[in-house]
Symmetry: C2
Subunit: 301 residues, 2 copies
């Protein structure tokens, strides 16, 4: 990746950070809304922690490919990031993955307490459906509603939450390759699929492009998960800012465990090729999306 | 309340139950969606437990007053009930109110486990925003989006979730009357306010009526909470199907504690009078809404 592209990704992450901060700020006095300070602080702790912002950047780069790059796109992207952040807050809870650290910082239930972390996750999740409905997101209410509904489906029982259930259920028992693929397509795949699909919808891309971008998101999601599994096996806790080797410890079979690291890397190469084939029709304009896919596969944390 | 009105409320609750069951059923095979059975079962346990369905019935009766009584209204009402049910599942968790029983049955984390209960609550909450977006709810996407957004605000940090945070924070310390009123208007008031407001919006009621019904929901919400506090002091665990005296045990100051039972009953009478004044312009057509307010105040569990 060139220096310019790296800088561009950092700039995009900064934009996301700014909008998230605004969404998670004290309401103006005239709004007559109360945001209990402790809950707001816990939500900020869970959402403003310097994440890589891959999902919202994927929304923004896809929308950009089809000609939209305004603040409304960033806002829709932040709705998705709020969902991702809520899931991390809840997944870290003692009853779930029981993690004390996230990006080198105490997790929300460690910095606050369990009850506050549960509520902070709930409130981040709920806020996403307020944010995605804002007029700036798209002038057409039908599109905003479609984004809201698809976001719900990508994150609910048929998507992310369902995938987390399958993941918890599979601790300390064998999983087939098909089972792992299904749970990963739900747990992490559904949100990434939504990301690039939403980008295309936000920019009023023609139906064929929406479908192509949907597949692009799926491919990126698969690559993301394989890269993640490799990192869990190979990276150090210092690089990751959180515990590694967790899958093995929890007795969770992963694709890397089943296929081996070499075959996993081969599959990653195939996925990147498919991603580039999907982007081919757009020529150099899709350079940033291609770089993003590369970044997701080659990241070190 | 007459026998006919009582029967009518039971019939409405049955309608809600039927739609909730449909929303929480296995997806048809052709839908190509996976709903992990354990998570779906936990969601059903949390939502199909014979609740009184006061909130959805309030939506339906208000919509009916303005001439709408089709299945789409019941669906919008069920989106609200899903939010209510998720909040009960999470509030019952050990880290929150730590309740083992709900309506005489084991709570979700007792019947399953904590992780599953957290995910079931998350998935019920998420599903609400899919359900409220369904076309049957209203032919105009702008109205569906407005309902979705207002539902998010009523249940998020500025509403129910924020109120629960304030409630948890106030354990074992004094609370002023103003603090208690604010937290109750958020914790339980916001959803009841939304209920009758949503009913009016669903039926395309004129703006003045929407505002009147919004106030009606607020009044019902206040009365509901006062009646609840009285029940917590006076009813037996057998009547309630859950532990009573919990507020005193947790050192939570309530309005009944501050004002005394007599003054609380007086305020309830005032609230019922205001409710009837708000309904006056509609004549006998509002009889059922009036009966519902009475029922909320006089219920024994």
């Amino acid at each position: 990746m060139t220096f310019e592209l790296k800088q561009h990704l950092t700039d995009q992450a900064t934009k996301v950070e700014i909008v998230l901060k605004r969404l998670l700020s004290e309401p103006p006095l005239e709004a007559e809304i109360t945001r209990p300070p402790r809950l707001l602080a816990a939500m900020r702790h869970g959402a403003l922690n310097g994440g890589k912002r891959l999902r919202p950047i994927l929304v923004m780069e896809t929308a950009n490919l089809f000609g939209r790059a305004d603040e409304g796109v960033c806002q829709a992207a932040c709705a998705l990031e709020l969902i991702h952040c809520y899931s991390l807050v809840h997944d870290d809870l003692p009853a779930m993955d029981d993690d004390d650290l996230r990006r080198g910082q105490p997790t929300v239930h460690k910095a606050y307490d369990e009850a506050t972390a549960i509520l902070a996750g709930d409130a981040l999740l709920t806020l996403a459906f307020d944010v995605v409905a804002e007029e700036a997101v798209h002038s057409d209410a039908t599109i905003r509603l479609r984004l809201s509904r698809e976001l719900s489906r990508a994150s609910g029982i048929g998507g992310m939450a369902g995938g987390q259930m399958l993941d918890l259920e599979s601790e300390h028992r064998d999983r087939t390759e098909a089972e792992i693929r299904r749970l990963q397509s739900m747990k992490t795949g559904a949100l990434l699929r939504y990301a690039s699909r939403a980008g295309a919808l936000l920019a009023n891309a023609p139906e064929l492009d929406v479908e192509r971008m949907t597949r692009f998101g799926e491919v990126v999601g698969l690559a993301f998960q394989l890269a993640d599994d490799l990192l869990d096996v190979e990276a150090s806790p210092e690089d990751m800012g959180k515990a590694t080797g967790k899958d093995a410890e929890a007795g969770k079979a992963t694709l890397v465990g089943l296929l081996g690291a070499d075959q996993t890397r081969q599959e990653l190469t195939h996925l990147l090729n498919e991603a580039d084939t999907l982007l081919e029709p757009y020529g150099p304009a899709a350079e940033k999306l291609s770089a993003l896919a590369q970044f997701i596969v080659n990241r070190k944390s």
